[in-house]
Amino acid sequence: MTFVRSLDRLLIKIESAFLVLFLGTMIVLAFTQVVLRNLFDTGFLWGDTLVRHLVLWAGFTGAAIATSEERHISIDALTKFISPRVKSVVQILTNLFAVIVCCLLAQAALTFLSAEKEAGGSLILSVPSWIGLIVIAPGYSLMALHFVLKVIEDAMKMSGASGEAL
């Protein structure tokens, strides 16, 4: 359990660092663009495009952390009425379901990426358009990984608990 925990912690640390980098750049660059545009009638040609993609990157990093902290939006109307033991079984099942969906979405993202690569075209200046999409598949994979770690942790907790009961 400690290994799973510390792996999750390590991932969160790395993700947090990236997140600060993404959001920090976004704040400074978006503000700079406004100042340049409104006061000096100029601006970086790539500025707005980069800011928009930073939203995508920060969003996926945030979503990965949300997975670890169980802060994804859910309806969750029934879990209040079941016992803790049943609840952990249910949680394992719902998290496994999320793993599958994340993997399928990651696969869909890869298909989209290779189609975009084939089609060519550029995002801005000489940057090819597929560069804009590269974060999506790793983003979903990262979430899948966090969900898997959750499942392992819950399963170990359960077997540990039943072991004590015996």
Binding site: S16, L19, V20, L23, G24, M26, I27, V28, A30, F31, V34, R37, N38, D48, T49, V51, R52, H53, V55, L56, A58, G59, F60, T61, G62, A63, A64, I65, A66, T67, E69, R71, H72, I73, S74, I75, D76, A77, L78, T79, V90, Q91, L93, T94, N95, F97, A98, V101, C102, L104, L105, Q107, A108, A109, T111, F112, A115, G132, L133, I136
Partner: protein
């Protein structure tokens, strides 16, 4: 039969707490799969919405709101409002309503208001002899009060999903938003008089020192709202200015927060919310696109038309439907999932999409207060250590007032559209 079984299974997973984005993602993948369309179609829509220029406003405003919630802005805001409104009977209730509304507009109705401002106001209200039940209901209700005011996150999200101009929606929310605040304030004043609460005399000195204390924050609403309405900059640009300005002011001017100790944590917290919203948004846009291609909204319209032929009746049914949605879903998912289906139907009944947006958000605002999943009820219950049932009972009179206001907002489109036309916002 098979579809029904899968549907049931997904519904069960959702009710047992599976992340909503996974449910919606699964439905989207299945829908495209059954139509023989490659699953990457989901990603096309995700990417399209993710790099929409308006979306940039969401992380920037959310971050700014979280920074303000963590700094001493709430204290300064309350002091300022008290120095102005403290003199009228029930003035403290008015203070609570006004400060919470302004604060919610900036923090995006994510429950931060009750924690940041409610925790501050509730003890003061009780100490000044406001009945506890009244105060509890007041704070719980105020937690989502400002979401019709710019630059609230639900307004931006609605504009994004409905594909209408954010600036228009920002203008449309003002008068209905004021209506809600005034209606609740009148009730607060009445109850304040009845409880014979003490008033604070109006002293110019106090106003001056409170203004001086908040001098760096007072310009913010003026810059945001004035800037957008005057056409000086767009909502996205206003978000960029706000995020940068708030960061500089709270860290370097007020020194409430440390750049290295607090800001990374706040960045993380705010982006977790943005990430969670983006995941649902991405999957739902793919699904919506499929449903619209499949003409599902039109089929729904054909269906409703057999029962409902007048817009008036449609609006009544819509309000009831939306309150039920608000009871079951949080505001962000509700906007993302329901709006694309409702808009074409409402259009067929010739209801203005901007007006519809205001109706929609007012309904969801009430949804924050209705059991079983009204978010404010639970936050209040946890924050003030009261049973949820007590909180529910305390909020009932407020729900009543809001429902009356909702009816007015629904049947007087001018409230929403007058300012839009006056300002000529596009």
């Amino acid at each position: 039969m098979e579809t029904l079984l899968i549907g049931l299974l997904l519904a069960l997973l959702a009710l047992f707490g599976a992340p909503l984005f996974a449910i919606i993602g699964a439905v989207a993948l299945l829908a495209f799969g059954s139509a023989g369309i490659d699953s990457s179609a989901v990603m096309v829509e995700l990417y399209r919405i993710a790099i929409n220029p308006t979306l940039v406003a969401i992380p920037l405003f959310t971050f700014a709101g979280y920074v303000m919630a963590e700094s001493k802005t709430p204290v300064r805001l309350v002091n300022l409002a008290r120095s102005i409104f403290g003199t009228i009977p029930g003035g403290l209730a008015v203070v609570a309503l006004v400060t919470c509304a302004i604060f919610t507009a900036f923090t995006g109705a994510s429950g931060v208001t009750i924690v940041a401002l409610g925790g501050l106001l509730f003890p003061i209200l009780v100490k000044e002899n406001y009945p506890e039940k009244f105060s509890l209901g007041l704070i719980t209700t105020s937690g989502s009060l400002g979401l019709l005011f710019p630059p609230s996150l639900p307004l931006i999200l609605y504009a994004l999903v409905a594909n209408i101009s954010v600036d228009k929606l920002f203008a449309a929310g003002i008068i209905p938003g004021i209506l809600l605040v005034v209606a609740l304030a009148l009730y607060g004043i009445r109850e304040g008089k009845r409880a014979a609460v003490p008033t604070t005399p109006f002293v110019w000195m106090n106003v001056r020192s409170a203004v001086r204390a908040a001098a760096w924050e007072i310009p913010l609403p003026v810059v945001v709202i004035g800037g957008i309405y005057s056409g000086l900059f767009t909502a996205t640009e206003a978000a960029a200015v706000t995020a940068f300005y708030v960061l500089v002011v709270e860290v370097f001017v007020y020194r409430d927060l440390s750049l290295f100790r607090d800001i990374p944590r706040i960045m993380r917290d705010s982006m977790v919310l943005v990430g969670a919203i983006l995941m649902i948004l991405g999957c739902a846009m793919g699904l919506t696109n499929y449903l619209v291609d499949d003409e599902v909204p039109m089929k729904l319209f054909e269906f409703t038309k057999t029962f409902i032929d007048s817009p008036t009746v449609f609006l009544i049914v819509l309000n009831i439907f939306l309150i039920i949605v608000g009871m079951m879903m949080d505001i962000f998912s509700a906007i993302i999932v329901v709006v694309p289906l409702i808009i074409p139907i409402a259009k067929a009944y010739s209801i203005d999409p901007v007006h519809l947006g205001i109706i929609f958000l007012t309904n969801l605002e009430i949804g924050y207060l209705t059991p079983p999943v009204g978010l404010n009820l639970f936050i209040s219950s946890i924050r003030f250590g009261k049973p949820v049932f007590t909180v529910v009972r305390a909020t009932l009179p407020y729900i009543g007032i809001l429902l009356v206001a909702l009816i007015v907002i629904t049947y007087v489109p001018g409230l929403s559209l007058w300012l839009v036309n006056l300002l000529g916002v596009r």
